[in-house]
């Protein structure tokens, strides 16, 4: 799984153009990334990662692209 693919999944979950999803994107910067949007992001990522996302305790506090990528990198889930 690549960083690009993670951003594509987030963009699709939030129903925004991929160009709007940068490393700085977060629940604070994207209007669509509200509490409902965050639930969509989590479920989409978990599906794409075959259920591994939910086991990562750090995901509880990951509300930005940067923090999500950091968690996934820490657990060797992205290239």
């Amino acid at each position: 799984m690549t960083e690009k693919r993670i951003k594509e999944i987030i963009a699709k979950a939030l129903e925004v153009d991929i160009a709007q999803v940068t490393n700085q994107s977060s629940t604070q910067t994207l209007a669509q990334w509200d509490s409902l949007g965050h639930i969509s992001v989590l479920t989409a990522l978990d599906r794409a990662l075959d259920g591994k996302l939910a086991e990562l305790k750090e995901m509880e506090n990951a509300y930005s692209v940067e923090s999500i990528l950091a968690v996934l990198r820490q657990h060797h889930l992205i290239d």
């Binding site: 509490s35 989590l42 939910a54 509880e60």
Partner: protein
């Protein structure tokens, strides 16, 4: 032993998506409904309480009340702290004095907890005819403009008889507790809405979802292993009717066929500890379960707390 009878009572006020939208024009109600899957909820009227729903549910039971020797009242909406509400319910139902009675404070996992207690009491010889009553009125804790909680929770009560029997079986059980999740679904004492003197319910939906996504599939696998069964050996899965997104994730993780997963959150909402017994009634009414059906039940959420069991009806 077996579950011999279940009855239920929902809150008397029906609320639809249109009601929520008209009261909260700024809500994107279809976005909310697409995730919750909940179209209709039932809440208590202002003077109506969970206890009153409990009485009504229990009064519908056909069982001879003179035989009941154990009463377990599962609630997080107690009518009374001192004395225990179970004593009040005992008196309202006219149960015999030779009957143990106590409250059990659990939410979403509460029915399975109550069932495990009833089972243990019967196996130990302390009871032959145990009544478990689950009753909840979370709406009393929820602000009218709480977009996270209000579209989810309904008020309801269920009364369940558990009795010795030569047919049917209850067990094994599995339990998970994680108190680190307590702040993510809690009754905050600080009054943020003066119409809610008891405090306000707070929920971090994403964190609670992560708990269910991580723990429920694992607990189901553990429970099946205890019973030496596989997913395919279960006739029907009845999970706590938390919401569509929660059940969808569980279904996907465990690869459960849609026709073996029961859903009724659409028309009933999330009645906390009463969701599973209400679902059992509706599953029976719709012909999806009958004598001999093997059902996996699992409740999970506030606590965090999770409890599951396998029941042969």
């Amino acid at each position: 032993m077996r579950i011999t009878e279940i009855t239920y009572q929902l809150g008397s006020v029906r609320e639809t998506l249109d009601d929520l939208q008209s009261q909260n024009p700024d809500w994107r109600i279809q976005d909310i409904a697409s995730r919750t899957g909940i179209l209709t909820r039932y809440v208590t009227a202002p003077q109506e309480t969970a206890f009153q729903l409990a009485i009504k549910a229990a009064q519908k039971l056909a069982v001879d009340r003179n035989t009941i020797d154990a009463l377990i009242y599962v609630t997080q909406s107690p009518e009374s702290l001192i004395p225990t509400t179970a004593c009040l319910l005992h008196q309202h139902l006219g149960l015999p004095s030779q009957c143990l009675a106590y409250d059990l404070n659990q939410g979403c996992s509460g029915f399975i907890y109550g069932l495990s207690q009833a089972t243990a009491l019967i196996k130990s010889g302390l009871s032959k005819h145990a009544l478990v009553v689950c009753a909840e009125a979370y709406s009393k804790y929820i602000s009218k403009n709480d977009r996270t909680c209000r579209p989810l929770f309904s008020d309801g009560a269920a009364a369940i008889m558990v009795e010795e029997s030569a047919v049917g079986d209850i067990g094994p059980f599995v339990f998970v507790t994680d108190g680190s999740g307590a702040p993510n679904l809690t009754l905050r004492r600080q009054v943020v809405d003066t119409n809610l003197p008891a405090g306000s319910l707070y929920m971090d939906g994403a964190k609670v979802l992560l708990f269910t996504m991580g723990q429920v599939p694992r607990a189901v696998r553990e429970l099946l292993a205890k019973a030496q069964l596989s997913v395919q050996d279960i006739d029907l899965f009845i999970f706590h009717q938390a919401s569509k997104v929660v059940l969808d994730n569980i279904q996907h993780a465990l690869k459960i066929d849609e026709d073996r997963l029961f859903r009724n959150y659409q028309e009933v909402g999330n009645t906390v500890s009463a969701t599973i017994p209400i679902a059992l009634v509706q599953a029976q009414q719709s012909g999806r379960i009958k004598d001999g059906t093997r059902v996996l039940l699992m409740g999970f959420g506030v606590g965090y707390s999770l409890a599951g069991c396998i029941v042969t009806l």
